[in-house]
Amino acid sequence: MTEMAVQWEGVYLHSKEIVAREIEGELIIVPLVSGISETDDELFTLNETGRAIWALLDGKNNLTQIVQILTERYEGGAETIEQDVHGLVLELLTRRMIKQVPTAKG
């Protein structure tokens, strides 16, 4: 799996190569096309923190703004939240579950 760079000024959006479903209060990410997961038959789920980050990856906020929003919403400190956002975004990007939205600046 190719590792990709996470850009703090980048805006990200859920990929069209996955389907996100909410089942009994749980967010489940279902691969739509091949190559999302190692074996093509896996489903993924996020915990509450992951879901909060996921919900903000909506094509509007850049990652710096997402960290700000989460820092206001949660205890834990900006540094921890920054690490969480970076870690999850990197994993989601690597798994093609989100995409960076092209901006005017390119």
């Binding site: 091949s34 834990g76 870690g87 989601l92």
Partner: protein, 394 residues
């Protein structure tokens, strides 16, 4: 700043992206009862070109509405089956629709209609569940003696080849019938070359009667093709050590106290919608009093309101109450309302063939003596415990 202003804040846990484990349930969708084979032992097939049957089937939009409802109620996987589901011209559309709803798909097919287009579709949009191909013989002669369709063997091999070429995961399974009986080892060896097969393929041999109860003649034929309980058992124990090991584990998990409850099977964990929009508790149970018309109600309504009372029903048949309701072999026996319906037209009629088969196995495993019937046994728990520890009951 007053204390408590942060009271609605939550602590941050590390994010977790983990593999989803809990499977909520599966819904079977019998897209058509038509089939391009005419297998000698089949419990459902109708002619593929039957225009009247085709006209009665649900349309594309009907199936899409059902798929939406399935996703809404939290179904994780749908099993697309038939008849031969690939006979439907809208199969690619329905498959893609299901996948776009985030549903995983199990596909049951004979593989004959896996065209390059279908294979490309399955390669690009993986089913995320298994594709199961039923194999009727390893050679044209044996295969077509079962399928009764000239050219079917070559099409099946082509379909399989298309999956292999594109590395689309699939499994094979078989039906043990007189024309292919001598090919079991050859089948096993071939199956072992399929990268996604783990262990020997499953083989059906205790064939079910037609669940539509639509043909006495065909039922007679199916009955003739079943092995006797003794012969069937001899086949089951052909690898005696593996069989015993498997059954010890199986009995430890599935033997349950005798009961007059009708639905001790998996019927409560899913459902099946037939080609015409009738929701059934399972694929075999087509008793008209136990189906729900999806044209007049919703899946949620059926699963939450209509079906639960059915699942509490108890047997009333005196023979069933005397035997099955007191029998501890229900984990070992395939008796269920669906089988009773197919065989006798009621939900609680003992199926003697299954009863005999369960008793032969129980005797071999040391759960019963030669002269005992399982419903006469009172110390069954002790016997099961002895078996699952590896020592047959004395």
């Amino acid at each position: 700043m007053p204390a408590g202003i942060y009271s609605d804040q939550e602590n941050v846990d590390l994010y977790v992206l983990q593999k989803h484990k809990s499977i909520i349930g599966r819904l079977d969708l019998e897209l058509t009862e038509r089939c391009n084979n005419n297998c000698i032992h089949c419990c459902i097939n109708l002619p593929s070109m039957d225009a009247r049957v085709k006209a009665r089937e649900l349309g594309t939009d009907d199936w899409k509405a059902i798929l939406r409802q399935a996703a809404e109620v939290g179904v994780i996987s749908v099993r697309l089956t038939g008849g031969e589901p690939l006979l439907r011209e809208d199969f690619p559309e329905l498959y893609l629709y299901a996948r776009h709803l985030g549903l995983r798909v199990i596909l049951f097919t004979n593989g004959r209609l896996i065209s390059p287009t279908i294979a490309e579709l399955l390669a690009k949009y993986p089913a995320l569940e298994r594709i199961e191909i039923t194999v009727y013989g390893m050679h044209q002669e044996s295969y077509e003696a079962v399928s009764r369709m000239p050219g079917s063997y070559e099409e099946f091999r082509l379909g399989v080849e298309r999956l292999l070429t594109r590395r689309i995961p699939f499994m094979v399974k078989g039906s043990l019938l007189p024309p292919n009986r001598k090919e079991v080892e050859e089948f096993n060896q071939w199956a072992a070359t399929i990268p996604w097969m783990h262990g020997s393929p499953s083989l059906s041999l205790f064939f079910e009667l037609r669940s539509r109860r639509d043909s006495t003649a065909r039922n007679r034929q199916i009955t003739r093709l079943r092995p006797s309980p003794e012969d069937g058992f001899a086949f089951l124990i052909r690898r005696s050590q593996t069989y015993r090991q498997h059954m010890e584990e199986f009995c430890g998990r599935f033997m349950a106290p005798p009961s007059d409850s009708l639905f001790t099977c998996g019927a409560s964990r899913g459902g099946c919608i037939d080609a015409y929009g009738k929701l059934q508790l399972c694929m075999a149970l087509r008793h008209p009093d136990y189906v729900f018309d999806m044209k007049t109600g919703t899946l949620k309504e059926a699963l939450s309101t209509t079906f639960p009372p059915y699942l509490l029903e108890r047997a009333t048949n005196s023979d069933y109450l005397r035997r099955c309701a007191k029998c501890f072999l229900r984990g070992l026996c395939e008796q269920c309302p669906g089988k009773s319906w197919s065989e006798h037209g009621t939900l609680d009629h003992p199926v003697d063939y299954l009863c005999q088969l369960a008793h032969i196995q129980a005797r071999y495993l040391g759960l019963l003596s030669e002269s005992e019937m399982a419903w006469e046994v009172t110390d069954w728990q002790k016997r099961v415990q002895a078996l699952t520890k590896g020592a047959p009951a004395k």
